[in-house]
């Protein structure tokens, strides 16, 4: 049996207020948001944003995320350098939080979305249920990568004892913030319903 979806009934659903309207309507009659049956150019947009974020991820890791100025000597540290420092300070759980939030989460997000775009575009025989779980996880963890940027902001504001010790923000902080924002927008541009459309079509 074919699944009873909004698209099969010639309806589109407002992404903002969930109102159902005939698919020829282009503005939600209830909330006024732009309405499409499927997000426009979803795969292209997601891929474009993913590539941008992947490129920005390089300076985010190479450039220093913060510079510690202690008694006149400046010491820059990168994201991975910070993780190593935390392990040396014996705070392994915190090192794990930073490592997961700043390295594992962005990387797994890249892989997850590249994989999802590939499976939709190439019509791969993958389970939509499984892929939806991948999508949901990748979407959920999105903003948690911002932790490292906030840590820099807090340290810069807090550690400021004139000439004795001060922390300054590094260029990588901005690059990394952009990576997080762009991947969040990429997650929003990806339309998970495309994965189900394939199975719906095969079942017809």
């Amino acid at each position: 049996m074919t699944a009873l979806t909004a698209a099969s009934q010639n309806l589109s659903s407002c992404h903002l207020c969930y109102k159902l309207a005939p698919s020829e309507v282009h503005r939600c009659p209830r909330c006024g948001a732009a309405m499409h049956q499927r997000k426009t150019a979803s795969i292209q947009r997601t891929l474009a944003l993913l590539i941008t974020a992947s490129i920005l991820y390089i300076p985010a890791n190479i450039l220093p995320i913060m510079i510690t100025d202690q008694l006149g000597s400046a010491e820059p540290s990168t994201i991975l350098g910070g993780v190593v420092l935390l392990i040396k300070l014996d705070s392994v759980p915190i090192a794990a939080i930073i490592f997961i939030a700043s390295v594992m989460v962005p990387l797994s997000k890249f892989f997850a979305f590249y994989y999802l775009c590939w499976s939709v575009e190439k019509n791969a025989m993958t389970s939509p249920r499984q892929n939806t779980t991948v999508y949901r996880m990748a979407e959920f963890v999105g903003k948690w990568s911002m932790v490292d940027v906030f840590v820099v902001a807090i340290l810069v504001a807090l550690v400021n004892l004139g000439g004795l010790v001060a922390i300054k923000p590094g260029a990588a902080a901005l690059a990394f913030a952009c990576v997080v924002i762009i991947t969040m927008v990429a997650a929003e541009s990806f339309d998970p319903r495309l994965m189900w459309d394939k199975t719906d079509k095969n079942n017809e």
Binding site: C17, L20, C31, W144, A153, I154, V165, A177
Partner: protein, 218 residues
């Protein structure tokens, strides 16, 4: 609008008939009782949670969050002592220090994520919940409602809180760090903010808005 399909299921204009945002399967959420949640039958996506007093709850958490936010902005957040010197940090200073540190773009982003967006979402929650609660629609109701659901993903109060804890551990070896009143106020603010957002159910909120502004629905 009425439409029949070959399965003889009538699609009417009920605001409780929705399509799963993640797999497009239609779901009727009109028969939920107080406290029940609906998940998609096919992909298990969370659809909505119905509470009789959802709007009232959202309103009360919003008011609490606003008061806590005012407290969080006005007192010391963290203080840092080393070698007899002390530096005190307030919440707005987290963004300000980045600005004076030569990164105005990052300062704007941080200020937006931890202060402005949560504050704007709270004010919009007031603009939506009060008219619904008092049964008096106004012209800004739909716009405010729309903005809430656009902006809510971009509020990062809870992420910032984890950031504070990480920072504490990072510099604990370097100096003595103390948490001020604002830290606790911000932690409580985060909880109230999250509860306010989660109590404003999308389906319920928009069905109430639809009920109050019937002339707007074409």
């Amino acid at each position: 609008m009425k439409q029949t399909n070959n399965n003889n299921i009538i699609i009417n204009a009920s605001p409780f008939l929705i399509a799963c945002p993640s797999c497009d399967l239609l779901a009727d959420t009109s028969k939920l009782h107080h406290g029940e949640t609906a998940n998609c039958a096919r992909c298990n996506q969370f659809l909505c949670r119905y509470k009789d007093d959802g709007i009232a709850r959202a309103l009360s958490y919003t008011l609490s969050a606003l008061i806590l936010f005012a407290v969080a902005c006005s007192f010391p957040f963290l203080s840092f002592k080393a070698a007899g010197l002390e530096s005190v940090m307030t919440l707005p200073q987290t963004a300000w220090a980045l600005y004076s540190g030569g990164m105005p773009e990052l300062a704007i982003l941080v200020a937006a994520f931890i202060m402005f967006i949560p504050l704007v979402v709270l004010l919009l929650l007031l603009a939506v919940c009060i008219p619904i609660y008092r049964n008096k629609p106004n012209t800004l109701l739909t716009t405010s409602g729309r903005l809430i659901f656009i902006l809510q993903h971009w509020a990062m109060a809870e992420v910032f809180l984890i950031g504070v804890i990480v920072s504490l551990v990072k510099i604990a070896a370097m100096a003595t760090v103390e948490m001020g009143i604002s830290f606790w106020a911000y932690a409580a603010f985060t909880i109230c903010f999250t509860l306010a957002i989660s109590n404003l159910d999308r389906v319920q909120c928009w069905s109430e808005i639809e009920r109050l502004t019937p002339e707007a629905i074409k």
